[in-house]
Symmetry: C2
């Protein structure tokens, strides 16, 4: 006999308990084991994992297409031997941590840095060492550990520390990063009229002098990998930028990063800025140009790509696009755009125009989840690539297409970014909801083992439409099965929750009493304690259904991906306050 604890069921529990009470569980327990890099473990030898899969317009079956990750040119500051190679500079730990409300512990930073190395980012900006002793310690720890964990292919990420353009900041940054195999100092000063006048209270000439002195000082410390950023370059006078940038190249800067600090530029405007800088800055061919685009108008990814189109060969970005205000360019968006379109749409700069990175995208999903969990910065369901809905299809027309051929509505496979689609929901990320057609419902039921005659399917579908109109979030497999069972008069095969009482508080032990009516029409009840009230309810139900019957399918939570995400965010948020 097949027993199902169905959707309406779990919804009742969830609804009356406000499931989020999982906030009681210590955060550590809520973390997926996948993230649990043992604290302080030193990994001396690391290898990149297998090649991910891609779907592109040419291939009918996304799984048939192998994406061949090309090898990474040797790292030399200020020079890339292959002009088509684009360096990925991740600043999740610096600009990302500046997200209002996000604060990471040193241990969390170390774990994220290790994940970024697995992902294969070329440069990790680990923090702003002068900001606080904790910041310094975190950067130093990452430099000493992750900055020395060399992969089989010789790859080890550059570890970078940020500093304002003064000796004290720079010295502190250098002390933090110098233990890495490849240390970099990133120094900056603002160059826009409004910043120089209102914030710095300096003349343009003074700003040039400060910039040159900063780079010279960094070099004098023994650092040969120096990045310089003219802050607010997107609103700076290009003629002034030529002067500043030419001067810092002469002083020894090897990477010139062009920040659109306030997210002010249109993509073609920012692309053109990169172009004219490369044409007019003296010594431009001796350095790598870089982009750093803020997202105030939602254009950070587009602007970064426009930079690459015009010859930038380092793109700064963050996981999930977090950062000050509306955040930064999303690493996953930038990287997947280059992976899908890099060889077709980027002609015009140096090289052949067939751009590529060495990022291994299969690590994108776990990295995204780790960053969102540790920082508390959730992704909206419709966040590109890593949002809970990014590979979900709702309308009947889209679902029909997905069943016939996944490439109709997907330009990459979820597996390519490390998201396993599994067998659930027609294997096609289809949400069965009010917009779904008979084909999608019938297909899913077949997969669940219910081959229905047309009349029966029509009856189930009619009932499905009624329920779906009212049910936000769509129907789960259990709900679908319940509809079939209802039609067959088999509804007494289900367990029903008939009573629930929960008690919890500051000092008491969370306790739940649960009463359930079994498929044999016998009512059972039990009390249980737990780490939190929901846990207590789960344990009580476990006890009731676990001893008396054999279960084939037992699902308590009918919450969907999107809701899970918000739960996680909330639980962490509460944890932060304690």
């Amino acid at each position: 006999m097949k027993l199902t604890i169905g959707g309406a069921f779990s919804a009742a529990i969830v609804g009356s308990l406000g499931i989020a009470s999982d906030a009681f569980t210590p955060l550590a327990l809520q973390r997926k084991p996948a993230f649990a890099t043992p604290s302080g473990t030193v990994i001396s030898k690391r290898t990149h994992v297998s090649i991910p899969l891609f779907s592109t317009i040419e291939e009918v079956d996304p799984k048939a297409a192998l994406y061949t990750r090309r090898s990474r040119p040797e790292y030399i500051p200020g020079h890339i031997s292959d002009p088509d190679y684009v360096r990925i500079f991740d600043t999740t730990l610096r600009d990302g941590e500046q997200s209002p409300g996000a604060t990471l512990t040193s241990q969390e930073k170390l774990e994220i840095a290790r994940m970024l190395a697995k992902l294969g980012v070329d440069i990790i900006e680990a923090g702003f060492p002068i900001a606080s002793p904790d910041d310094f310690a975190a950067v130093k720890d990452i430099a000493d550990k992750v900055g020395n964990e060399v992969f089989d292919d010789g790859y080890v990420p550059v570890i970078c520390g940020l500093s304002r353009a003064n000796p004290k900041d720079i010295e502190r940054a250098w002390d933090a990063v110098k233990g890495a195999k490849r240390p970099r100092i990133h120094t900056f000063i603002a160059t826009s009229k409004i910043h120089m006048e209102s914030k710095l209270n300096k003349t343009p000439e003074e700003v040039i002098e400060i910039a040159v002195n900063a780079v010279t000082f960094a070099k004098s410390l023994g650092c040969n990998d120096i990045e310089f950023s003219p802050e607010d370059a997107g609103r700076s006078d290009p003629e002034f930028l030529y002067k500043v940038l030419s001067a810092v190249i002469e002083a020894g800067a090897t990477t010139l990063n062009i920040p659109d600090t306030t997210g002010w530029n249109m993509p073609w405007e920012f692309g053109n800025l990169i172009k004219i800088l490369r044409e007019n800055v003296k010594g431009a061919d001796k350095v790598v140009f870089s982009t750093h685009c803020q997202n105030d108008l939602g254009l950070a990814t587009a602007n970064s790509l426009a930079g690459a189109l015009n010859g930038a060969r380092q793109l700064e970005c963050t996981i999930n696009g977090i950062g000050e205000r509306a955040g930064n360019a999303s690493l996953e968006e930038v990287v997947m755009s280059l992976a899908l379109k890099g060889d077709k749409q980027f002609e015009g700069g140096p090289g052949t125009g067939k751009l590529y990175t060495a990022i291994n995208p299969v690590h994108i999903t776990p990295t995204s989840k780790m960053v969102s969990e540790y920082t508390g910065m959730i992704c909206q369901p419709h966040k590109a690539i890593v949002g809970a809905n990014a590979f979900q299809h709702e309308s009947g027309i889209h679902q029909d297409g997905m069943i016939k051929n996944k490439s109709t509505y997907e330009i990459m496979s979820p597996e390519s970014i490390g998201l396993m689609r599994g067998d659930a929901q027609s294997g096609a990320g289809i949400v069965l909801g009010k917009h779904s057609g008979r084909n999608a419902v019938g297909t899913r039921l077949k997969e669940l083992g219910y081959v229905l005659e047309p009349d029966k399917l029509n009856a189930v579908f009619a009932r499905f439409k009624e329920v779906a109109e009212k049910r936000k979030g769509g129907l789960e497999d259990e709900d679908l099965e319940a509809l079939v069972v209802d039609q067959a008069g088999l509804s007494n095969m289900m367990w029903r929750l008939t009573g629930l009482q929960v008690s919890t508080g500051m000092s008491g032990i969370p306790t739940a009493t649960v009463k359930m009516l079994g498929p044999d029409m016998v009512e059972r009840y039990v009390a249980s304690t737990g780490t939190g009230p929901v846990d207590a309810v789960y344990k009580a139900i476990d006890q009731i259904v676990g001893v008396s019957v054999e279960l084939e399918n037992y699902s308590l939570s009918s919450v969907n991906e999107g809701i899970d995400v918000s739960f996680a965010a909330k639980a962490m948020a509460l944890n932060q306050h304690r």
Copy 2:
């Protein structure tokens, strides 16, 4: 005597209760009164509200700059008298409602449509009438009501219904919208090789025939405002698009919408597509070209703007960028980009290149909140323009800049999109956290009425840094005040929570018992019931502190904007399941 119930305090309550139990409160009670358009009210005369404020690079004080909204050219299907005017087509109620997990009631749709009219969108796509009787009824209701509520300046939104390219769909769509003053039918068929072969199983010739028949049929019903979309145009052969589009223009289509259905295009690629279509489609000058860009690579806004750069004069978008998978172009991003840069960066198409819309951006924030609440599709904190962090500044350097001049890090004022900054947090959206400097802390304390001597400020600042390192989410005013009070040995002026017990369940009434130690060192306790366990706790605390002392400041919740958002989302999600 000033009494404060501080941050640590409320955090304890929130933490131990998992505040999300607010899910108990009926959703209706949780809605802000601001949204509560009285059900069914017919508004016969409507006026646009006052002119919003803008900050741009030129102005030092954002509040000094008045943005003059230009008047809207008369609405004529297929023609815009001013070639610089860009129509905004909102599809929140159609593509947006296709967000996996989002389902709107007819009443919610009507309220959103009214809000879109206040915002001033030119066209409201109200739904897909054939999809279900509820969908039909909702579109008809909007057409009959909002489609007839003419504003003082003659503006009334076009009401549009979607239909596949077959007579049954089209007839249903027409029946739904024809009651509007300005009804439009939007019909579509896919034109990419993969869609025609795998999904439609039609030859290109058959597709052209179906498209032409659909437009001809729509016209035969008496509709003179017909939009046609070649689905998946972003992956279609341009030569084939020339043929289809030329044919439908001849048949009577007045708007040609070019969808990048799978979010496949780079901005310059999509811009070029619009350009070559305008150059090669016969009769292109007799129609309005439109963009519809999905966000799978995070480029929807950039692609829409690239379309405008190349002559598209209708941009399709949704509030908060919701929609299938990774969603659609965000109305707020598209509109604010044009508001800030439309007159500078869009030369090259028809007209003078000084583009503008008639959107009144001061309604953006309330509309965004309404849509996110009704659909359950939350915005991430770093969502551009409408995210909780979009106008928040975290790093010390940025906060210093904001205090000196807001234009250093803001390209538009929050007031311009209807977000009132208020006096909190230095009036500059500054989050005081671990990255904050002495200047920001001192400034905020001064605003709170604490003018401290340098020694005292140093001591408070040192303590602030210690607390901020550990406190994700930054410090609230109450926390800051607590630090000052601590330094002065006045900590016994606070209430302390000494005991808390909560009981709740399926049938029982949520009950809380709260014990508190007052500033007079007397312990009081009380039990209270509530609509949910958190509500019960709030009420109990209300009773304790309300009767025995006079309060100047009483804040229970120290959750920040971002967390509120996730709470709201969760509460709704649970509500959906009941």
